[in-house]
């Protein structure tokens, strides 16, 4: 408070009359107050830094990175006696039988293992907390009076969630690749169609698959963001999003609902395996991506309608 004390030595000095302050009397330097066109990027950067500095975000990424390690170690132990994984011992995730021959397959296995639940759950946490968490902490009102702008804040939140989708997927893929390379040999990849492609192209396909998996999560991200605009409790928003996710996953298994299932956001998730065909089967892949766009548009609009008209009382 040093400056305040020294600055107002009188402490109870007369405040008024203020009177008209001439052009020279204005204490304010009348700063340039035109918004920079790059300002939204600055807000996005701030949002990314804030999100990824959070201990919870790092913990989620840590859990995701641990999944391939567990799978890899389990396969290594199980196949230590020369038997093949996923053979007699029942079904595992897709591609698990190929891991012992080629560590690169751990990437596909890990993504197939985390995509149904771990990855979307992590997205649900981040997206559900995006608005509701700020409301809960009260920081939302200060962002809005800054003024960040409601539509822009929502867009920045969605972009941040999308970045998290990508980072989370890449963390799983990178961890799987590292563990796979460490525990198993790497080499040419045998595609599902039976053809062989080189390791370099195999790595390229792995990266492409990671990108498709990340894109598969955009629908959940929009859903979570919408839920997040409905409540002032971050926990409630996260729980609702994850609950919806589980519900949809269960409904997707009921044969009676097969007419509806093509519209579930998770229905085509595992189509990423089609990228390992030669030539690639694009039908389901494109259906999946199209579905994610529809979900993002529908729930993004709903979130926008809700958030831009809502009373912020927290």
């Amino acid at each position: 408070m040093s400056s305040a004390e020294t600055g107002s030595t009188g402490t109870v000095g007369p405040v008024g009359p203020v009177g008209p302050v001439g052009p020279t009397g204005g204490v304010h330097p009348a700063p340039a107050r035109t918004p920079s066109p790059w300002w939204s990027l600055g807000l996005l950067r701030s949002e990314l830094v804030t999100t990824f500095r959070r201990w919870r975000t790092l913990a989620l990424l840590g859990v995701l990175a641990a999944v391939p390690v567990l799978v890899g170690v389990a396969v290594k132990i199980e196949t230590g006696d020369g038997s093949s994984a996923g053979g007699a011992g029942g079904e595992g995730p897709a591609f698990i039988a190929q891991i012992t021959n080629n560590g690169l397959f751990l990437v596909f296995t890990a993504l197939a293992a985390t995509l149904p639940f771990f990855l979307p759950m992590a997205i649900g946490v981040i997206a559900g907390d995006a608005i509701a968490g700020e409301a809960n902490a009260g920081t939302l009102r200060y962002l809005l009076v800054a003024p960040a702008g409601r539509a822009r804040l929502l867009l920045v939140k969605y972009a941040t969630t999308a970045v998290f989708c990508l980072v989370a997927t890449l963390v799983v893929a990178a961890s799987a690749l590292a563990v796979g390379a460490l525990l198993f040999p790497l080499g040419d990849v045998t595609t599902i169609s039976g053809t062989r492609i080189g390791l370099a192209e195999g790595l390229g396909r792995a990266l492409l698959i990671a990108l498709v998996v990340a894109a598969s999560l955009l629908g959940v991200a929009a859903l979570g963001l919408f839920v997040s605009t409905m409540t002032n409790s971050g926990i409630a928003a996260m729980a609702t999003t994850v609950g919806l996710l589980i519900t949809v996953q269960i409904l997707d298994q009921l044969p009676q609902l097969d007419a509806l299932q093509p519209y579930f956001f998770s229905h085509y998730w595992l189509s990423f395996a089609d990228l390992l065909r030669d030539p690639v089967h694009w039908d389901d892949l494109l259906r999946n991506l199209g579905l994610q766009v529809v979900y993002a548009a529908v729930f993004g609009s709903a979130a926008w309608a809700r958030f831009t008209s809502r009373d912020v009382t927290a």
């Binding site: 008024g16 918004p35 200060y142 009076v145 702008g149």
Partner: protein
């Protein structure tokens, strides 16, 4: 207006200065036509439950004033502030801030407004400095190149420079309050809206914050200060408005408000009974005898004559004087009821 209500007898009510804003670079009028920085007409908020939080509020905050917004908890102060800041939509009525309608003109108005609303809200896992950086990044008009300097200056201004690197969750309530205030001071502002700014501060901290408010006001910033502490309003405000149950009870210059109530004659004496008798003989009305003192309505004539009469009657006078009317007296006089707030 002989009797000034505030602790500071030099302060006079601030005249409305509509043209003060010429100092700003903006050509758009930033005050209303009548020189107000905040003007509401019939502003009403009814929550979804049907509860009427603010009822046809007509508020006029003159430019350059330190405006005290007073009322007990639940009287609608915070709802009003949230409507002024565009956080909640009025049910009916209009609000203009810096001459522009809210919430419609939020993008143009809010960069010129620093706000502390219902206490500070911080990211506990970020340091104090990073909290300010984050809020500054949310302001579209804030220049990222000067961000570091402005954040440091704001921290220095509220006395938090030494704790700037500490995580906000480790801050005490007073430090959080200061950090919230620093966020409001990241840019030069035309209007500061401070909701209970001294909450959680120790007496020294309160004095520092009040000194800071006076300093800001003397720079020409209009300060809209909500409080439930009457003496706080008396100490720093030039104007005041009183809310109760969602309605505006009174508003105007603090001196005018207090002038509505007369002071009281106070005689401090061990001989209270005798003193009361003498005062009664001299025609003083409304005499109240208390332990060691007698009070009554102030005399119409020369008070010194009363002293002489008391002394002549053998009353041992320890103290004699007319106590100024306080803002609290004014409220009692104006509203006809006690103002039930913490003092």
């Amino acid at each position: 207006m002989e009797e000034l209500p505030a602790a500071d007898p030099v302060r006079a009510p601030v005249p409305v200065a509509p043209d003060r804003t010429d100092a700003s670079g903006t050509s758009t009028g930033e005050t209303g036509p009548d020189g107000t920085v905040i003007a509401t007409t019939a502003l009403t908020k009814r929550y979804r439950g049907g509860q009427l939080a603010v009822d046809r509020l007509d508020l006029a905050v003159p430019a350059g004033s330190v405006f005290g917004f007073l009322g007990p908890n639940g009287s609608g102060k915070t709802t009003t502030i949230r409507m002024l800041m565009g956080l909640i939509e009025p049910t009916s009525g209009t609000a203009r801030v810096l001459g522009r309608p809210m919430p419609g003109a939020s993008r143009a108005v809010l960069p010129h407004v620093g706000a502390l609303i219902e206490g500070p809200a911080l990211y506990g896992f970020l340091s104090g400095r990073d909290n300010l950086t984050r809020y500054d990044a949310a302001d579209p008009t804030a220049d990222p190149r000067t961000r570091r300097t402005r954040v440091a200056a704001a921290l220095d201004r509220v006395g938090l420079s030494a704790a700037a690197g500490k995580k906000a969750k480790a801050y005490s309530l007073g430090m959080k309050q200061r950090l919230g205030l620093a966020a409001a001071l990241l840019q030069p502002r035309r209007l500061l809206v401070l909701d209970e700014p001294t909450n959680g501060l120790d007496p020294q901290g309160m004095r520092e914050i009040r000194a800071l408010i006076r300093e800001l006001a003397s720079d020409g910033t209009t300060v809209f200060l909500s409080s439930h502490l009457l003496d706080e309003i008396e100490q720093v405000c030039t104007h005041a408005a009183v809310m109760a149950q969602g309605r505006l009870i009174v508003q105007g210059p603090v001196a005018d408000l207090a002038a509505g109530a007369r002071g009281r004659l106070v005689v401090t004496t061990p001989d209270a009974g005798d003193a009361a008798r003498v005062l009664k003989e001299r025609g003083i009305g409304d005499i109240v005898v208390e332990e060691g003192r007698v009070t009554g309505e102030p005399p119409d004539g020369e008070p010194a004559d009363l002293t002489a009469a008391l002394v002549a009657a053998g009353v041992r006078v320890r103290g004699f004087g007319v106590e100024r009317a306080s803002l609290e007296d004014a409220f009692v006089a104006l509203t006809g009821e006690g103002f039930d707030v913490e003092r």
